[in-house]
Amino acid sequence: MTAIRATNLTKRYGRTVAVADLSFDVEPGRVTGFLGPNGAGKSTTMRMILGLDRPTGGSVLVDGVPYRDLRHPLRKVGALLDAKAVHGGRSARDHLLAIAQSNAIPAGRVMEVLETVGLREVARKRIGGFSLGMSQRLGIAAALLGDPEIVIFDEPVNGLDPDGILWIRTFMRDLAAEGRAVFVSSHLMSEMAQTADHLVVIGKGRLIADTSVAEFIGRSSQAYVRVRSPRLAEVAELVKVGRLHPDHLRVTAMTPLEIGALTARAGLPLEELTLVQPSLEAAYMELTKDSLEYSS
């Protein structure tokens, strides 16, 4: 069953359109990356999924029902929106205990999830003193309390060091491998490329792409051959289909072998002949450049 289904989801705040006519599905057993530049509407969409904000139009269902109709929602959906949105005066243990009790989750789960995220030693410490990385781990522990089939993380790697990033990435992959639906937002394509199986890309609240990661790269940008030569002008004339840049030539319609054969026959020396596979980041920039909220 589809874990999350958004249908024509729309949200306006006064005159700001945060999410516009957005439809997508999140399936179990894979990591779905939710991508978009700052202000694209990712967090707003997640809040609507979780019944926190009311859609202006359209609907979003979790496992076929609106979130607000779930009896013990944490046993079905675990979410981390803002790791710092906690009462700093409580201990990690009490914080999680209160959440567990509200959904009739056995108190024993508290220490289990603290162990999972590596916070067992600081269970009795005030969470106000936690670093950002520890807070993220605590937020993830809270999301895992009810052993949910669906997990939702809003920019979980923000502010983490490389170790923390690697940990979360591996962790999300593991959750998906266990058959859970993982829905995770980011504004960095490079991050998602290494974590996600599927991508939902939005810009200015609208859907831009809903594809697998591989498909996304293939579709949205082209590979090209970069050619350098001390006699670049002559090479450009010979190749015809290239686009001349100050210090190199870009060719999309020919392979390196074809170009090499051509220039060899003409006796033109080459400095460089490289097939350039555009990065995922470049593909993403290309795709979202029209929908940047704040372009620099």
Partner: protein, 246 residues
Amino acid sequence: MIDIIRSEWTKLRSVRSTMWTLGTAALLMLAIGALMSIAVKNSHEGPVPPSGVAEVSLMGVNFAALAVAALGALVVTSEYRTGAIRVSYMAVPRRLLLLAGKLVVFAAVALAVCMAAAFAAFLVGRTILGGASLGDPGVLRAVTGTGLYLTACGLFGLALGALVRHTPGAVVAAIGLILVLPQLTVMLPGQWGRTVNDWFTSNAGRQVAFPSEASSLGPWSGFAVYLGWIAVTLAAACVLTARRDA
């Protein structure tokens, strides 16, 4: 519902500042009662009547009322300030059930502490002034009434907190409605003005502890009117809570 109550109790007891504030309110109540009792003893000729002993020893009630109201407001507003309210609503999407859970837990804790503080304040006052017991006419009602009135003030604060979702706003509203405005309504002219004054929030609510002969409301009808104010505030808060984005 029992799950939510259990969870809210964990939240309330696990924040040390909550318990401290409540304890401070109780101590303040005792201290003011004791000071007033000493002052009265030194200036008063002859024995103080039992109802007077009760009134003097419970004079800290106004300060305590504000402390308890502020704490009631914080039960709700502190979650909005930190953003933790979203975590709470994710766990309990039926928001009115969550609010009910907060209300039940806070009411129980506030009632226990406020009752204890009222009794303790009276016992201290009686020790200083002498000549009164809980069996004297009106004394027991004054003491238990003080506990009830304080608890109601806490609920008023909680309702205001749920309505404005913002600590300073809720506390200012509580001070205005419980302490300031009730003193200003005295100046309203005519019969109509007198009725408004009698029915105005704490003017009505305090009747249960210190009934004024001048009021058109009795001890219990006055307290019922005060609960009415709280109920209306709470109803407005419920409507908005269900509708608003978190």
